[in-house]
Amino acid sequence: MKHEFEVRAGVRAGALLTAHGAAFGYRKRAVVSGVELRVVRGDFVGIVGPNGAGKTTLFRGLLGLIPPLAGRVERSTRAIGYVPQRESLDALFPVTVQEVVELGGLNKLRGFRSLPAQERARALECLERVGLADRRRAQFSTLSGGQRQRVLIARALMVEPELMLLDEPTTGVDRGAQAQILELLGELNRSQGLAVLLVSHQLAMVRDTVQRVLWVAEGGVREGAAAELLAPEHLDRLYGGAAQGVGEEH
Protein backbone atom coordinates (compact mmCIF):
# COMPACT_ATOMS: atom_id res chain seq x y z
CA MET A 1 0.00 0.00 0.00
CA LYS A 2 1.22 3.42 -0.91
CA HIS A 3 0.08 5.15 2.25
CA GLU A 4 1.60 2.80 4.76
CA PHE A 5 2.45 4.14 8.15
CA GLU A 6 5.61 6.16 8.14
CA VAL A 7 7.53 6.40 11.34
CA ARG A 8 10.06 9.14 11.12
CA ALA A 9 12.92 9.49 13.53
CA GLY A 10 13.23 13.11 12.52
CA VAL A 11 9.99 14.23 14.17
CA ARG A 12 10.68 17.02 16.60
CA ALA A 13 11.52 15.80 20.07
CA GLY A 14 8.44 14.84 22.06
CA ALA A 15 6.01 15.17 19.18
CA LEU A 16 4.01 12.02 18.51
CA LEU A 17 2.25 13.40 15.48
CA THR A 18 3.02 16.46 13.39
CA ALA A 19 1.56 17.92 10.22
CA HIS A 20 3.33 20.61 8.24
CA GLY A 21 1.35 22.44 5.58
CA ALA A 22 -0.58 19.26 4.94
CA ALA A 23 -3.53 19.04 2.58
CA PHE A 24 -5.93 16.10 2.46
CA GLY A 25 -8.62 15.17 0.00
CA TYR A 26 -9.69 12.71 -2.61
CA ARG A 27 -8.84 12.32 -6.29
CA LYS A 28 -6.30 15.12 -6.10
CA ARG A 29 -8.91 17.60 -4.83
CA ALA A 30 -8.06 19.02 -1.42
CA VAL A 31 -10.88 19.08 1.13
CA VAL A 32 -8.74 20.62 3.89
CA SER A 33 -5.39 22.29 3.42
CA GLY A 34 -2.77 24.23 5.33
CA VAL A 35 -2.88 21.86 8.29
CA GLU A 36 -0.29 22.64 10.95
CA LEU A 37 -0.39 20.39 13.98
CA ARG A 38 1.84 19.07 16.71
CA VAL A 39 0.54 16.48 19.16
CA VAL A 40 2.71 15.64 22.16
CA ARG A 41 2.36 13.27 25.08
CA GLY A 42 -0.50 14.29 27.36
CA ASP A 43 -2.34 16.33 24.72
CA PHE A 44 -6.12 16.11 24.44
CA VAL A 45 -7.18 17.50 21.08
CA GLY A 46 -10.60 17.71 19.46
CA ILE A 47 -11.36 18.02 15.76
CA VAL A 48 -14.66 19.84 15.28
CA GLY A 49 -16.48 21.68 12.56
CA PRO A 50 -19.69 21.80 10.56
CA ASN A 51 -21.00 18.70 8.81
CA GLY A 52 -19.20 18.16 5.50
CA ALA A 53 -16.35 20.54 6.40
CA GLY A 54 -13.72 17.80 6.21
CA LYS A 55 -13.31 16.61 9.81
CA THR A 56 -13.25 12.97 8.80
CA THR A 57 -10.94 13.68 5.87
CA LEU A 58 -8.49 15.41 8.20
CA PHE A 59 -8.79 12.58 10.72
CA ARG A 60 -8.15 9.93 8.08
CA GLY A 61 -5.19 11.88 6.80
CA LEU A 62 -3.63 12.21 10.24
CA LEU A 63 -4.23 8.52 10.82
CA GLY A 64 -2.47 7.61 7.57
CA LEU A 65 -5.50 6.11 5.85
CA ILE A 66 -5.20 8.63 3.02
CA PRO A 67 -1.91 10.17 1.88
CA PRO A 68 -1.41 13.93 2.10
CA LEU A 69 -1.89 15.76 -1.21
CA ALA A 70 0.63 18.35 -0.06
CA GLY A 71 2.90 18.91 2.93
CA ARG A 72 3.96 16.24 5.41
CA VAL A 73 2.49 14.11 8.16
CA GLU A 74 4.96 12.48 10.52
CA ARG A 75 4.35 9.99 13.28
CA SER A 76 7.08 9.19 15.73
CA THR A 77 5.30 6.18 17.17
CA ARG A 78 3.76 2.98 15.96
CA ALA A 79 1.83 2.69 19.20
CA ILE A 80 -1.31 4.28 17.85
CA GLY A 81 -4.68 3.16 19.14
CA TYR A 82 -7.49 3.66 16.66
CA VAL A 83 -11.14 3.67 17.66
CA PRO A 84 -13.40 3.68 14.58
CA GLN A 85 -17.07 4.54 14.53
CA ARG A 86 -18.74 1.47 15.96
CA GLU A 87 -21.40 1.52 13.21
CA SER A 88 -18.68 0.68 10.71
CA LEU A 89 -18.36 -2.78 12.27
CA ASP A 90 -20.79 -5.27 10.76
CA ALA A 91 -23.09 -7.13 13.16
CA LEU A 92 -23.04 -10.09 10.78
CA PHE A 93 -19.71 -11.11 12.33
CA PRO A 94 -20.49 -13.21 15.40
CA VAL A 95 -17.45 -11.89 17.24
CA THR A 96 -17.37 -11.96 21.02
CA VAL A 97 -16.20 -9.02 23.08
CA GLN A 98 -12.97 -10.87 23.90
CA GLU A 99 -12.36 -11.64 20.21
CA VAL A 100 -12.79 -7.97 19.29
CA VAL A 101 -10.27 -6.89 21.91
CA GLU A 102 -7.81 -9.62 20.91
CA LEU A 103 -7.82 -8.29 17.35
CA GLY A 104 -5.98 -5.28 18.77
CA GLY A 105 -3.06 -7.52 19.72
CA LEU A 106 -2.50 -8.78 16.19
CA ASN A 107 0.00 -6.02 15.43
CA LYS A 108 2.53 -8.00 17.43
CA LEU A 109 1.95 -11.15 15.40
CA ARG A 110 3.63 -11.85 12.12
CA GLY A 111 2.36 -14.44 9.70
CA PHE A 112 0.12 -17.09 11.10
CA ARG A 113 0.94 -17.48 14.78
CA SER A 114 -1.86 -17.53 17.31
CA LEU A 115 -2.19 -14.91 19.99
CA PRO A 116 0.01 -15.98 22.93
CA ALA A 117 -1.52 -16.63 26.34
CA GLN A 118 -0.11 -13.45 27.87
CA GLU A 119 -1.76 -11.36 25.15
CA ARG A 120 -5.06 -13.07 25.84
CA ALA A 121 -4.62 -12.26 29.50
CA ARG A 122 -3.82 -8.68 28.59
CA ALA A 123 -7.01 -8.49 26.53
CA LEU A 124 -8.86 -9.34 29.70
CA GLU A 125 -6.95 -6.66 31.59
CA CYS A 126 -7.91 -4.12 28.94
CA LEU A 127 -11.53 -5.16 29.32
CA GLU A 128 -11.25 -4.77 33.06
CA ARG A 129 -9.84 -1.31 32.49
CA VAL A 130 -13.00 -0.29 30.65
CA GLY A 131 -15.23 -2.14 33.12
CA LEU A 132 -16.48 -4.85 30.79
CA ALA A 133 -14.54 -7.96 31.78
CA ASP A 134 -17.76 -9.66 32.82
CA ARG A 135 -19.14 -9.27 29.29
CA ARG A 136 -16.16 -10.87 27.55
CA ARG A 137 -18.16 -13.83 26.24
CA ALA A 138 -21.06 -11.71 25.01
CA GLN A 139 -21.42 -11.03 21.33
CA PHE A 140 -20.15 -7.58 20.48
CA SER A 141 -23.26 -6.74 18.46
CA THR A 142 -25.54 -7.36 21.46
CA LEU A 143 -23.93 -4.65 23.60
CA SER A 144 -25.27 -1.13 23.97
CA GLY A 145 -23.67 1.69 21.99
CA GLY A 146 -21.69 2.94 24.96
CA GLN A 147 -20.47 -0.54 25.86
CA ARG A 148 -19.36 -1.20 22.30
CA GLN A 149 -17.45 2.04 22.34
CA ARG A 150 -15.67 1.03 25.53
CA VAL A 151 -14.80 -2.35 24.01
CA LEU A 152 -13.24 -0.57 21.05
CA ILE A 153 -11.24 1.58 23.44
CA ALA A 154 -10.09 -1.63 25.17
CA ARG A 155 -9.04 -2.95 21.77
CA ALA A 156 -7.08 0.24 21.13
CA LEU A 157 -5.39 -0.21 24.53
CA MET A 158 -4.04 -3.58 23.36
CA VAL A 159 -1.40 -1.77 21.30
CA GLU A 160 -0.21 -0.01 24.47
CA PRO A 161 -0.76 3.29 22.71
CA GLU A 162 1.04 6.55 23.17
CA LEU A 163 -1.49 8.22 20.92
CA MET A 164 -5.17 7.36 20.58
CA LEU A 165 -7.36 8.55 17.73
CA LEU A 166 -11.12 8.26 18.08
CA ASP A 167 -13.78 8.85 15.43
CA GLU A 168 -17.00 10.24 16.94
CA PRO A 169 -16.65 8.26 20.17
CA THR A 170 -19.75 9.65 21.87
CA THR A 171 -22.15 9.89 18.97
CA GLY A 172 -25.34 7.92 19.42
CA VAL A 173 -24.79 7.00 23.07
CA ASP A 174 -26.81 8.22 26.02
CA ARG A 175 -25.50 10.85 28.43
CA GLY A 176 -24.51 8.33 31.08
CA ALA A 177 -22.45 6.28 28.64
CA GLN A 178 -21.02 9.46 27.17
CA ALA A 179 -19.80 10.51 30.60
CA GLN A 180 -18.24 7.06 31.21
CA ILE A 181 -16.35 7.18 27.91
CA LEU A 182 -15.06 10.70 28.49
CA GLU A 183 -14.09 9.89 32.06
CA LEU A 184 -12.17 6.86 30.82
CA LEU A 185 -10.35 8.87 28.17
CA GLY A 186 -9.59 11.63 30.68
CA GLU A 187 -8.22 9.12 33.15
CA LEU A 188 -5.98 7.51 30.51
CA ASN A 189 -4.83 10.96 29.46
CA ARG A 190 -3.99 12.04 32.99
CA SER A 191 -2.59 8.83 34.43
CA GLN A 192 -0.57 7.58 31.45
CA GLY A 193 0.05 10.76 29.54
CA LEU A 194 -1.84 9.21 26.64
CA ALA A 195 -2.26 11.74 23.85
CA VAL A 196 -5.87 11.73 22.64
CA LEU A 197 -7.16 13.11 19.38
CA LEU A 198 -10.86 12.78 18.73
CA VAL A 199 -13.20 13.95 16.04
CA SER A 200 -16.70 14.96 17.06
CA HIS A 201 -19.62 17.10 16.03
CA GLN A 202 -20.72 17.55 19.65
CA LEU A 203 -19.38 20.98 20.49
CA ALA A 204 -20.40 21.13 24.13
CA MET A 205 -18.83 17.77 24.90
CA VAL A 206 -15.59 18.73 23.19
CA ARG A 207 -15.47 22.13 24.91
CA ASP A 208 -15.81 20.51 28.33
CA THR A 209 -13.33 17.73 27.65
CA VAL A 210 -10.37 18.65 25.45
CA GLN A 211 -7.55 21.13 25.85
CA ARG A 212 -7.11 22.18 22.25
CA VAL A 213 -9.36 22.26 19.26
CA LEU A 214 -8.84 22.02 15.53
CA TRP A 215 -11.76 23.85 13.97
CA VAL A 216 -12.30 22.61 10.42
CA ALA A 217 -14.31 24.87 8.13
CA GLU A 218 -14.23 26.31 4.62
CA GLY A 219 -11.29 24.16 3.53
CA GLY A 220 -9.00 25.27 6.32
CA VAL A 221 -8.10 24.43 9.90
CA ARG A 222 -7.83 26.80 12.83
CA GLU A 223 -6.23 25.72 16.09
CA GLY A 224 -6.90 27.16 19.52
CA ALA A 225 -7.71 26.51 23.15
CA ALA A 226 -11.02 24.70 23.51
CA ALA A 227 -12.53 27.06 26.07
CA GLU A 228 -11.64 30.05 23.93
CA LEU A 229 -12.38 28.78 20.44
CA LEU A 230 -15.62 27.06 21.35
CA ALA A 231 -17.06 29.79 23.53
CA PRO A 232 -20.53 30.47 22.08
CA GLU A 233 -20.00 34.18 21.64
CA HIS A 234 -16.65 33.58 19.97
CA LEU A 235 -18.12 31.02 17.60
CA ASP A 236 -20.90 33.39 16.58
CA ARG A 237 -18.51 36.25 16.03
CA LEU A 238 -15.88 34.32 14.12
CA TYR A 239 -17.84 31.81 12.10
CA GLY A 240 -21.42 32.95 12.02
CA GLY A 241 -23.39 30.52 9.85
CA ALA A 242 -20.68 27.90 9.75
CA ALA A 243 -21.06 27.21 13.44
CA GLN A 244 -24.74 26.48 13.04
CA GLY A 245 -24.01 23.21 11.32
CA VAL A 246 -22.47 21.82 14.47
CA GLY A 247 -24.73 19.82 16.74
CA GLU A 248 -24.43 21.17 20.26
CA GLU A 249 -25.68 18.04 21.87
CA HIS A 250 -26.79 14.73 20.69
Binding site: E4, F5, G64, Y82, L92, P94, L106
Partner: protein, 295 residues
Amino acid sequence: MDELDAISWAQRLSLFRWAVLAALLAGLVCPLVGVFLHVRRTSFYGIAMPQFATAGVVFGFVLLPWWIANIGLGGVELFEATHDSHAVLTYHMVWSNLFTFGGLLALLALGRRGGSEVGRVAGAFAIASAATILFGRMSPVGKGFVDELIAGELLGVGVHQFETLAVVYVLAALLLALFRHDLVLVSYDRESAFVLGKRVFALETLFTAVTGLVISVGTMVLGPVMLFGLIVLPAIAARAWARSMRTYFVLACAFGLAAVALGVTASFELDLPLGAAITGAAAVLLLPGALLRRG
Protein backbone atom coordinates in the same frame (compact mmCIF):
# COMPACT_ATOMS: atom_id res chain seq x y z
CA MET B 1 -31.47 -48.54 -10.41
CA ASP B 2 -31.88 -52.27 -10.05
CA GLU B 3 -28.18 -52.87 -10.48
CA LEU B 4 -27.42 -50.28 -7.81
CA ASP B 5 -29.96 -51.83 -5.47
CA ALA B 6 -28.18 -55.13 -5.80
CA ILE B 7 -24.93 -53.87 -4.28
CA SER B 8 -24.36 -53.15 -0.61
CA TRP B 9 -23.58 -49.78 0.97
CA ALA B 10 -20.01 -50.85 1.60
CA GLN B 11 -19.62 -51.80 -2.03
CA ARG B 12 -21.08 -48.50 -3.17
CA LEU B 13 -18.76 -46.55 -0.92
CA SER B 14 -15.86 -48.57 -2.23
CA LEU B 15 -16.93 -48.13 -5.83
CA PHE B 16 -17.47 -44.40 -5.56
CA ARG B 17 -14.86 -43.71 -2.91
CA TRP B 18 -13.12 -40.93 -4.82
CA ALA B 19 -16.37 -39.09 -5.41
CA VAL B 20 -17.37 -39.46 -1.75
CA LEU B 21 -13.94 -38.41 -0.51
CA ALA B 22 -13.97 -35.42 -2.86
CA ALA B 23 -17.39 -34.43 -1.57
CA LEU B 24 -16.27 -34.78 2.07
CA LEU B 25 -13.21 -32.66 1.41
CA ALA B 26 -15.37 -30.02 -0.23
CA GLY B 27 -17.79 -30.22 2.68
CA LEU B 28 -14.93 -29.36 4.99
CA VAL B 29 -13.16 -26.66 2.99
CA CYS B 30 -15.84 -24.82 0.98
CA PRO B 31 -17.70 -23.63 4.12
CA LEU B 32 -14.48 -21.99 5.35
CA VAL B 33 -14.41 -19.86 2.22
CA GLY B 34 -18.15 -19.40 2.58
CA VAL B 35 -17.83 -18.00 6.10
CA PHE B 36 -15.56 -15.23 4.89
CA LEU B 37 -17.74 -14.53 1.86
CA HIS B 38 -20.84 -14.43 4.06
CA VAL B 39 -19.54 -12.07 6.73
CA ARG B 40 -18.00 -9.84 4.05
CA ARG B 41 -21.47 -9.78 2.47
CA THR B 42 -20.07 -11.15 -0.77
CA SER B 43 -21.84 -14.52 -0.88
CA PHE B 44 -22.97 -13.72 -4.40
CA TYR B 45 -19.39 -14.36 -5.45
CA GLY B 46 -19.93 -17.96 -4.40
CA ILE B 47 -22.64 -18.23 -7.04
CA ALA B 48 -21.22 -16.08 -9.83
CA MET B 49 -17.68 -17.43 -9.80
CA PRO B 50 -18.52 -21.12 -10.34
CA GLN B 51 -20.55 -19.96 -13.33
CA PHE B 52 -17.44 -18.24 -14.70
CA ALA B 53 -15.47 -21.43 -14.12
CA THR B 54 -18.14 -23.40 -16.00
CA ALA B 55 -18.02 -20.98 -18.92
CA GLY B 56 -14.24 -21.40 -18.94
CA VAL B 57 -14.51 -25.19 -19.14
CA VAL B 58 -16.92 -25.02 -22.09
CA PHE B 59 -14.74 -22.45 -23.80
CA GLY B 60 -11.84 -24.86 -23.41
CA PHE B 61 -13.89 -27.49 -25.24
CA VAL B 62 -14.65 -24.99 -28.02
CA LEU B 63 -10.95 -24.35 -28.47
CA LEU B 64 -9.89 -27.96 -28.00
CA PRO B 65 -9.78 -29.07 -31.69
CA TRP B 66 -7.73 -26.06 -32.68
CA TRP B 67 -5.48 -26.45 -29.64
CA ILE B 68 -4.70 -30.10 -30.33
CA ALA B 69 -4.12 -29.42 -34.01
CA ASN B 70 -1.84 -26.43 -33.52
CA ILE B 71 -0.31 -26.65 -30.07
CA GLY B 72 -0.91 -30.17 -28.87
CA LEU B 73 -1.73 -31.68 -25.50
CA GLY B 74 1.08 -34.09 -24.79
CA GLY B 75 0.17 -36.40 -27.64
CA VAL B 76 -3.49 -36.79 -26.67
CA GLU B 77 -5.69 -37.19 -29.73
CA LEU B 78 -8.88 -35.19 -30.22
CA PHE B 79 -11.10 -38.27 -29.95
CA GLU B 80 -9.59 -39.23 -26.61
CA ALA B 81 -9.68 -35.65 -25.33
CA THR B 82 -13.35 -35.21 -26.17
CA HIS B 83 -14.47 -38.60 -24.94
CA ASP B 84 -12.46 -38.78 -21.75
CA SER B 85 -12.27 -35.48 -19.92
CA HIS B 86 -9.83 -37.00 -17.43
CA ALA B 87 -7.26 -37.26 -20.23
CA VAL B 88 -6.91 -33.50 -20.45
CA LEU B 89 -7.92 -32.51 -16.94
CA THR B 90 -5.13 -29.97 -16.57
CA TYR B 91 -6.18 -28.27 -19.80
CA HIS B 92 -9.74 -27.85 -18.49
CA MET B 93 -8.46 -26.72 -15.09
CA VAL B 94 -6.44 -23.98 -16.76
CA TRP B 95 -9.49 -22.62 -18.57
CA SER B 96 -11.58 -22.91 -15.44
CA ASN B 97 -8.93 -20.94 -13.54
CA LEU B 98 -8.51 -18.34 -16.28
CA PHE B 99 -12.21 -17.55 -16.39
CA THR B 100 -12.62 -17.59 -12.59
CA PHE B 101 -9.69 -15.29 -11.93
CA GLY B 102 -10.56 -13.17 -14.97
CA GLY B 103 -14.06 -12.71 -13.56
CA LEU B 104 -12.76 -11.99 -10.06
CA LEU B 105 -10.25 -9.43 -11.28
CA ALA B 106 -12.83 -7.77 -13.53
CA LEU B 107 -15.26 -7.49 -10.60
CA LEU B 108 -12.57 -6.13 -8.31
CA ALA B 109 -11.49 -3.58 -10.93
CA LEU B 110 -15.08 -2.47 -11.48
CA GLY B 111 -15.56 -2.33 -7.71
CA ARG B 112 -12.90 0.36 -7.42
CA ARG B 113 -15.22 2.68 -9.35
CA GLY B 114 -17.94 2.30 -6.73
CA GLY B 115 -21.59 1.50 -7.38
CA SER B 116 -23.66 -1.51 -6.39
CA GLU B 117 -21.61 -4.64 -5.78
CA VAL B 118 -24.68 -6.85 -5.78
CA GLY B 119 -25.67 -5.43 -9.17
CA ARG B 120 -22.20 -6.05 -10.60
CA VAL B 121 -22.06 -9.64 -9.37
CA ALA B 122 -25.60 -10.35 -10.58
CA GLY B 123 -24.66 -8.94 -13.98
CA ALA B 124 -21.52 -11.05 -14.03
CA PHE B 125 -23.57 -14.17 -13.23
CA ALA B 126 -25.94 -13.40 -16.13
CA ILE B 127 -23.03 -12.86 -18.53
CA ALA B 128 -21.26 -16.05 -17.43
CA SER B 129 -24.48 -18.06 -17.74
CA ALA B 130 -25.11 -16.71 -21.23
CA ALA B 131 -21.50 -17.41 -22.22
CA THR B 132 -21.84 -21.00 -21.00
CA ILE B 133 -24.88 -21.55 -23.21
CA LEU B 134 -23.34 -19.83 -26.23
CA PHE B 135 -20.05 -21.72 -25.96
CA GLY B 136 -22.08 -24.90 -25.50
CA ARG B 137 -23.69 -24.27 -28.88
CA MET B 138 -20.23 -24.19 -30.42
CA SER B 139 -19.12 -27.39 -28.68
CA PRO B 140 -21.79 -30.05 -28.14
CA VAL B 141 -19.22 -32.23 -26.36
CA GLY B 142 -18.43 -29.39 -23.97
CA LYS B 143 -22.14 -28.82 -23.40
CA GLY B 144 -22.64 -32.46 -22.58
CA PHE B 145 -19.75 -32.40 -20.13
CA VAL B 146 -21.06 -29.28 -18.41
CA ASP B 147 -24.63 -30.62 -18.32
CA GLU B 148 -23.28 -33.56 -16.33
CA LEU B 149 -21.37 -31.22 -14.06
CA ILE B 150 -24.42 -29.06 -13.45
CA ALA B 151 -26.57 -32.10 -12.74
CA GLY B 152 -23.97 -33.09 -10.17
CA GLU B 153 -23.21 -36.52 -11.60
CA LEU B 154 -19.89 -36.68 -9.83
CA LEU B 155 -19.81 -40.38 -9.13
CA GLY B 156 -17.31 -40.67 -11.95
CA VAL B 157 -14.71 -38.64 -10.10
CA GLY B 158 -11.46 -40.56 -10.40
CA VAL B 159 -8.30 -40.74 -8.36
CA HIS B 160 -6.52 -38.14 -10.48
CA GLN B 161 -9.34 -35.63 -10.03
CA PHE B 162 -9.48 -36.36 -6.32
CA GLU B 163 -5.74 -35.88 -5.96
CA THR B 164 -5.90 -32.54 -7.75
CA LEU B 165 -8.78 -31.43 -5.58
CA ALA B 166 -7.04 -32.66 -2.43
CA VAL B 167 -3.83 -30.76 -3.13
CA VAL B 168 -5.65 -27.50 -3.81
CA TYR B 169 -8.20 -27.81 -1.01
CA VAL B 170 -5.73 -28.88 1.66
CA LEU B 171 -3.52 -25.95 0.68
CA ALA B 172 -6.50 -23.60 0.76
CA ALA B 173 -7.60 -24.88 4.17
CA LEU B 174 -4.08 -24.49 5.53
CA LEU B 175 -3.80 -20.93 4.29
CA LEU B 176 -7.20 -19.98 5.69
CA ALA B 177 -6.39 -21.59 9.02
CA LEU B 178 -2.93 -20.08 9.29
CA PHE B 179 -4.01 -16.56 8.41
CA ARG B 180 -7.46 -16.71 10.01
CA HIS B 181 -6.79 -13.99 12.59
CA ASP B 182 -5.50 -11.52 10.04
CA LEU B 183 -8.21 -12.39 7.54
CA VAL B 184 -10.91 -11.87 10.17
CA LEU B 185 -9.37 -8.52 11.12
CA VAL B 186 -9.14 -7.34 7.51
CA SER B 187 -12.67 -8.50 6.79
CA TYR B 188 -14.14 -7.05 9.98
CA ASP B 189 -12.30 -3.75 10.27
CA ARG B 190 -10.12 -2.95 7.28
CA GLU B 191 -9.04 0.46 8.55
CA SER B 192 -7.91 -0.86 11.91
CA ALA B 193 -5.97 -3.61 10.16
CA PHE B 194 -4.20 -0.91 8.20
CA VAL B 195 -3.46 1.13 11.32
CA LEU B 196 -2.13 -1.99 13.04
CA GLY B 197 0.39 -2.31 10.22
CA LYS B 198 -1.16 -5.33 8.54
CA ARG B 199 -0.52 -5.86 4.84
CA VAL B 200 -4.13 -5.36 3.91
CA PHE B 201 -3.68 -5.59 0.15
CA ALA B 202 -1.57 -8.76 0.44
CA LEU B 203 -4.12 -10.39 2.76
CA GLU B 204 -7.02 -9.53 0.48
CA THR B 205 -5.08 -10.83 -2.51
CA LEU B 206 -4.41 -14.05 -0.62
CA PHE B 207 -8.10 -14.47 0.16
CA THR B 208 -9.07 -13.74 -3.46
CA ALA B 209 -6.54 -16.27 -4.71
CA VAL B 210 -7.74 -18.96 -2.30
CA THR B 211 -11.36 -18.30 -3.23
CA GLY B 212 -10.58 -18.41 -6.94
CA LEU B 213 -8.66 -21.68 -6.65
CA VAL B 214 -11.29 -23.38 -4.50
CA ILE B 215 -14.00 -22.36 -6.93
CA SER B 216 -12.24 -23.08 -10.21
CA VAL B 217 -10.86 -26.48 -9.25
CA GLY B 218 -14.05 -27.36 -7.36
CA THR B 219 -16.25 -26.50 -10.31
CA MET B 220 -14.20 -28.70 -12.61
CA VAL B 221 -14.30 -31.70 -10.27
CA LEU B 222 -17.60 -31.31 -8.41
CA GLY B 223 -19.72 -29.07 -10.60
CA PRO B 224 -21.11 -25.59 -9.97
CA VAL B 225 -24.33 -26.57 -8.20
CA MET B 226 -22.62 -28.53 -5.45
CA LEU B 227 -20.07 -25.78 -5.11
CA PHE B 228 -22.79 -23.10 -4.74
CA GLY B 229 -24.38 -25.28 -2.11
CA LEU B 230 -21.30 -26.00 -0.05
CA ILE B 231 -19.88 -22.49 -0.17
CA VAL B 232 -23.02 -20.53 0.56
CA LEU B 233 -25.48 -22.68 2.51
CA PRO B 234 -23.43 -24.11 5.44
CA ALA B 235 -22.08 -20.64 6.20
CA ILE B 236 -25.61 -19.25 6.40
CA ALA B 237 -26.86 -22.21 8.44
CA ALA B 238 -23.95 -21.98 10.88
CA ARG B 239 -24.31 -18.21 11.34
CA ALA B 240 -27.67 -18.80 12.95
CA TRP B 241 -26.03 -20.77 15.77
CA ALA B 242 -22.54 -19.30 16.03
CA ARG B 243 -21.76 -17.21 19.07
CA SER B 244 -18.13 -16.47 18.25
CA MET B 245 -15.94 -16.51 15.15
CA ARG B 246 -14.23 -19.65 16.43
CA THR B 247 -17.52 -21.54 16.75
CA TYR B 248 -18.67 -20.10 13.45
CA PHE B 249 -15.81 -21.77 11.57
CA VAL B 250 -16.30 -25.07 13.39
CA LEU B 251 -20.08 -25.09 12.89
CA ALA B 252 -19.82 -24.18 9.20
CA CYS B 253 -17.49 -27.13 8.60
CA ALA B 254 -19.78 -29.38 10.63
CA PHE B 255 -22.81 -28.28 8.58
CA GLY B 256 -20.82 -28.84 5.38
CA LEU B 257 -19.85 -32.38 6.40
CA ALA B 258 -23.38 -33.11 7.57
CA ALA B 259 -24.75 -31.93 4.22
CA VAL B 260 -22.37 -34.28 2.41
CA ALA B 261 -23.30 -37.21 4.68
CA LEU B 262 -27.01 -36.60 4.19
CA GLY B 263 -26.59 -35.96 0.48
CA VAL B 264 -24.59 -39.14 -0.10
CA THR B 265 -27.20 -41.14 1.81
CA ALA B 266 -30.04 -39.61 -0.16
CA SER B 267 -28.19 -40.09 -3.42
CA PHE B 268 -27.48 -43.77 -2.77
CA GLU B 269 -30.89 -44.55 -1.35
CA LEU B 270 -32.99 -42.60 -3.83
CA ASP B 271 -30.66 -42.74 -6.84
CA LEU B 272 -30.31 -38.95 -7.02
CA PRO B 273 -27.46 -37.02 -8.61
CA LEU B 274 -24.91 -36.68 -5.83
CA GLY B 275 -24.09 -32.97 -6.25
CA ALA B 276 -27.70 -31.86 -6.30
CA ALA B 277 -28.54 -34.17 -3.38
CA ILE B 278 -25.76 -32.62 -1.28
CA THR B 279 -26.91 -29.09 -2.10
CA GLY B 280 -30.46 -30.09 -1.24
CA ALA B 281 -29.28 -31.50 2.09
CA ALA B 282 -27.39 -28.28 2.80
CA ALA B 283 -30.60 -26.37 2.15
CA VAL B 284 -32.51 -28.60 4.57
CA LEU B 285 -29.94 -27.79 7.27
CA LEU B 286 -30.90 -24.13 6.96
CA LEU B 287 -34.38 -24.85 8.22
CA PRO B 288 -33.85 -25.14 12.01
CA GLY B 289 -32.04 -21.82 12.22
CA ALA B 290 -34.54 -20.16 9.91
CA LEU B 291 -37.52 -21.51 11.84
CA LEU B 292 -36.05 -20.29 15.10
CA ARG B 293 -35.23 -16.97 13.40
CA ARG B 294 -31.70 -17.04 14.61
CA GLY B 295 -28.71 -15.22 13.19
